[in-house]
Amino acid sequence: MKPLNEIKLNFPSRSANEGFARAAVAAFVSQLDPAVDELADIRTAVSEAVTNCIVHAYPDTIGTVYLTVRLFADGKISIKIRDKGCGIADVKQAMEPLFTTGGEERSGLGFSVMESFTDKLRVSSKKGKGTVVTLEKYIALRESAPSAAKPL
């Protein structure tokens, strides 16, 4: 299915951009008129994925974070967060609750949050090459479906 609308956003892995990324995705996704809770779920999941690029993928450098958001007519929102950072050696282990390589102040719950606040989470990674996280969420379409963007 073709998306109704799509944005791509690239930004440097500075921690100040965590808030920017959440706000930008929320503003775009609002075209589908999500409920307050659905929007909050999306903001939280995006924050986790973007933070991981900033904290883990590019630990000692500033790299680029690549964000793509697609909106579909059936209410599906697909969000891809990609980095060209250090990659993850063992994705299954990384996704386990409480697993972290980030030391004392990381909780190891980022992937758990992404998983429980979205409908689908896919992670693929290659050591030394980078990581792609894809989040999918279905939002309930409402009768008064608003100005949902016109097909591309």
């Binding site: 921690s15 100040a16 965590e18 808030g19 959440r22 809770d37 909050a40 903001r43 939280t44 924050s47 986790e48 933070t51 900033i54 904290v55 004392e104 102040e105 990381r106 909780s107 719950l109 980022g110 758990s112 949050v113 429980s116």
Partner: protein, 120 residues
């Protein structure tokens, strides 16, 4: 911007505000830890009433302060958290650490004037 703090006997209450993510957590953590080390309270209460957003970085912050207070033989309480923030806290199983105060137990959680209650 400094965090609002109030001490009462051996309790220290700190009001967090804004969006709590990895970016903002560092400064909050430094301020909290400096105050705890200076005052050495037996009870630290973190009030989340003015926190509009929190991701798992907030969990890291709460767990870290829990450990810090244990080190001093004190306790940690989390008050004023919205239903949204409770959702993240529950996911982390932090409710089992018994730090989360029901809003009913916590008057300041219902106070949106932002003014701390005196004389409690």
């Amino acid at each position: 911007m400094a965090l609002r703090m109030e001490t009462e006997s051996d309790s220290l209450t700190i009001w967090l505000s804004g969006e709590l993510d990895h970016h903002s957590a560092r400064r909050m953590r430094e301020e909290i830890d400096a105050a705890v080390e200076r005052i050495k309270p037996s009870r630290l209460r973190l009030n989340f009433a003015d926190v509009g957003f929190m991701d798992s970085s907030g969990i890291g912050l709460i767990m870290g302060r829990f450990r810090l207070m244990q080190l001093y033989g004190g306790t940690l309480e989390v008050a004023g958290a919205s239903e949204r923030i409770r959702k993240v806290i529950r996911l982390a199983g932090l409710d089992r650490l018994n730090v989360l105060k029901e809003s009913g137990e916590d008057l300041s959680a219902k106070d949106d004037s932002g003014v701390p209650h005196a004389g409690r």
